[in-house]
Symmetry: D2
């Protein structure tokens, strides 16, 4: 899982633009329709990198409004837009290794490995059933390397080993993201061609999956799936601090006042937001065992 804080090139740009035109950066906004919006930021050179604090490369954000009521057709529309963006990024490459980062048994962290299961893998067909694939077709291979906690091995090490054997021209790495912003949960897909650092943030470049560590370009696709509970609390404090006069009476505040604040913090997401341990899948299974054995033993 990727730390999200430093990854939103489109948000960085907004901040920077307040201060006027920026050299070394180009950007583009496409409103596909009233539900889907694509933002593309290109950091062109060292000057741009310095300004925006992001590596030289392309950063694409697909935003989907009201995904909670999306239908099949609209889902397919978003897929097609994503296809187009990917197509452009992988045009020069022939052999593509897709890597599904994360833990398939932890729901919020499962999107990477789940994508791998639905891919149309073709690399082996070139060898074993060449008639099924065109002569110039790209070769797709895919792997879900698991996470450190379940393999005991750094994900980066596993991938390095595999890349040395498979020799892909490019890697596409998919991961769930920790978001700082509840309004982006499950509503944003980010694509960049500058790699990814799974499971962290705090400057730990050891685990980076990028051209530097893999030897080939790495396209990262990420979806924000959770916000740390601490973030929500911090946000509510922020809000209080900003509207201090208004909330000064909170000591004797009515329930309605508190409710108003609560709404202000949570409104941007239309979901039924809940706080639960990240390990909820395991914890449910433990409790299930306790209760089932409890009943079986009590009968």
């Amino acid at each position: 899982m990727l730390d999200f804080r430093t990854d939103m090139a489109d948000e960085r740009l907004k901040e920077c633009e307040k201060e006027g035109k920026i050299e070394g950066i180009s950007s583009e906004n496409i409103n596909v329709n009233d539900k889907i919006k694509v933002t593309k930021v290109r950091v062109l050179n060292e000057q741009g990198k310095e300004k925006i604090g992001k590596e030289v490369g392309t950063y694409i954000t697909i935003e989907i409004k009201e995904i909670e009521v999306i239908n099949e057709e609209e889902l397919e529309k978003v897929s097609k837009i994503l296809s187009g963006q990917i197509q452009e990024l992988i045009k020069p490459y022939k052999s593509i290794l897709v890597v599904g980062l994360g833990n398939i048994d932890t729901t919020v962290d499962s999107i990477g490995p789940k994508v791998i299961k639905d891919l149309k893998i073709t690399r082996h067909l070139k060898k074993y059933a060449p008639d099924l694939v065109g002569k110039n077709a790209k070769e797709l291979s895919g792997i879900a390397p698991g996470v450190l906690g379940t393999t005991g091995i750094e994900t980066q090490e596993i991938l390095k080993g595999i890349v040395e054997k498979v020799n892909p021209d490019v890697i596409i790495a998919i991961d769930a993201l920790i978001s700082r912003d509840i309004s982006r949960l499950f509503k944003t897909i980010q694509i960049s061609n500058t790699g990814i650092t799974p499971g962290a943030g705090v400057g730990n470049t050891r685990k980076e999956i990028s051209r530097k560590t893999m030897g080939v370009p790495v396209i990262a696709i990420g979806v924000p799936t959770l916000v740390e509970a601490a973030t929500i609390v911090a946000d509510s404090i922020e809000l209080i601090a900003n509207q201090f006069e208004e909330f000064a009476q909170l000591k004797n505040a009515t329930k309605e006042d508190k409710y108003r604040l609560m709404k202000a913090v949570l409104e941007p997401s239309k979901f039924n937001l809940t706080v639960t341990p990240k390990e909820v899948d395991d914890l449910v299974d433990n409790m299930k065992l306790i209760i089932a054995h409890g009943i079986n033993g009590g009968i």
Copy 2:
């Protein structure tokens, strides 16, 4: 999913006891060991009911400390304690219908249906393989009726229909609970013999699953699995309001101050708490499709 707010008999009692001895209520505390604690509250009569605001009946709470590092042996210990409590409650009854409330495909709401899968069902054996069960053995049957959103039918209606055909002597209903208190998440099992109202709270007795609606006694077993995000925010406001002088400077507060408050709100749980939509399982599958189709289409 049950609203938890009004359900913690042990907490209610604590509040009441501050005001002195209470007639019509008996209570008992057992520290099984330094990790497991059992609290039993009995509301004996109308006088007790009025005081504590809970129906006449027995309310048992099993608390497990440090469940995040529990081992198999300790798990089995908790099962045995639960077995004992259930045994006492079902002693008079022969035919038991276990009902797993909730939605198996929504992780936080899946504990009821998952328990059903692990039960040793025996009711049919009496008829089809009488040699396999003792003559005086209890008859166990089990059903996971689903939730309104996936069946289109009120759970209570489904159960009424089944109870009329199966004629059990007692129902055991298992459900995930919405908690108000993050320190109880996945660490508490509540058992009562006064029934359950799934999916709600606000005085909606229509959906109640109890002796009144089912015609037979209903033992409820509940586990708190989530806190609404709004609760966390409300709690942080509460804390600020209570320590107002201390936090008055928040407007210009340092990061450290904010962090201190954040810790105060989240500390009671040792888990890695996250905020995510309740529908996370579905949302992950949607996003998986978008990305997998996106890649398949882009190659």
Copy 3:
């Protein structure tokens, strides 16, 4: 799971037609394209019933050739054909209860409950969100009642109880079928409006789910998912008996001779057929536990 032997109206008809024209039966063949074929047999009256040995009613068979290499578009085509047939059968009815028979945890028996999970249930919306559904829209409800072995209750009893509460106008019951014919495995969908008898065959009408037992019409949708191993053996004996002269030398037969027979028996299916216990899902989980505990304990 339904016994399949007596259920293939189209095969019965073929047998009967050898003897000439039949009164009281009409039939229709539609070759949708070179991959999909629909056969519709109508038993019109008692005379027809007697001839063909099937209840008065409509029997539809959708056959899909080469489903092992079917693509998404063709899948959707078959869905549409099925939609059309269902539409015709349910035209007079408004409130529809779909019943998913079988055990979701036994792969070959899981199709019924799995379909329920993918339905667009609307019955509750009429009440709780009437704006979301048209005024004249049909009401869809759905239930997966489980199997006797996991509930301890006859499926028919559960359904009777629910039907009495829900009062649907028609039931659609979906089940996996035991086939006698490996060439039909996963390649045939059968629809009839005469009900279904899950889990069996041999004249056990007690368990029948039909207008007689439910009080409303029952449309059955079935898919053959397995052949009993005994059937394969019986078929191979049949073949040997029929080609006795040819196989008389089998005592000293070469491997090639045996292989030839083997091919003759298994050829009609293009699948990689395997023999495995029906309980394979459970057995795999047991073995997994043994080996995982074995390794954990051995380290």
Copy 4:
């Protein structure tokens, strides 16, 4: 999935022993109780290898009778026996990489990856939480590399890459086996220290996972989970051929005669054997989509 034909050292030995004492081979039989039997065959040198046609090494078979009615306690007993055998084989090694071969989404082929999920992985703890593991504890890491059809990469290549990075002292490879003998399905665990060749048989040593290809010793643990349908047919022919006089009248055989033969072929397994495509999990999901869309579209 491993071809089983050449792997049953205990059966080979039985064949050979008919011809008298064998040099270069030692064997041992332990009847743990009346349900569990352990056979250990050691091929000591080239002479033994030549006789029995198996590599120099140790071949252990754990047989479990009546696993269809096994209880938890007996399961744990088998785990302990397996633990003991593994302990002996890995005594000299410190860092162990467990490899779960097979496809987790194909039930009969899922045992390898499923075992990986239940292991107590410790390798990373040495580095990140050294206090949690003893100083001299073994290091366990685990990986489920997937199958060629879903990764596009030869399993052997993936493993070579990982082994070069992880540098384990020994590999334990777990796989589902194709059996020739229905009486062994899910009732036998085989352990050897001579490696494994997944997915095949016919002399394809390219894919071998062994000391030769991995550079470290490979302990293989296998469980037979399926028999090819062709094998059942071949077996029935064999039986007919052997009892030719008896079955000579089969042309005009009664149902009873056929039933007798059928029983003779299938008796050794006490399971409810079924013939179904190996791809049953996928096929069920396809059909589910067709029917669910069919109903959704027809309403």
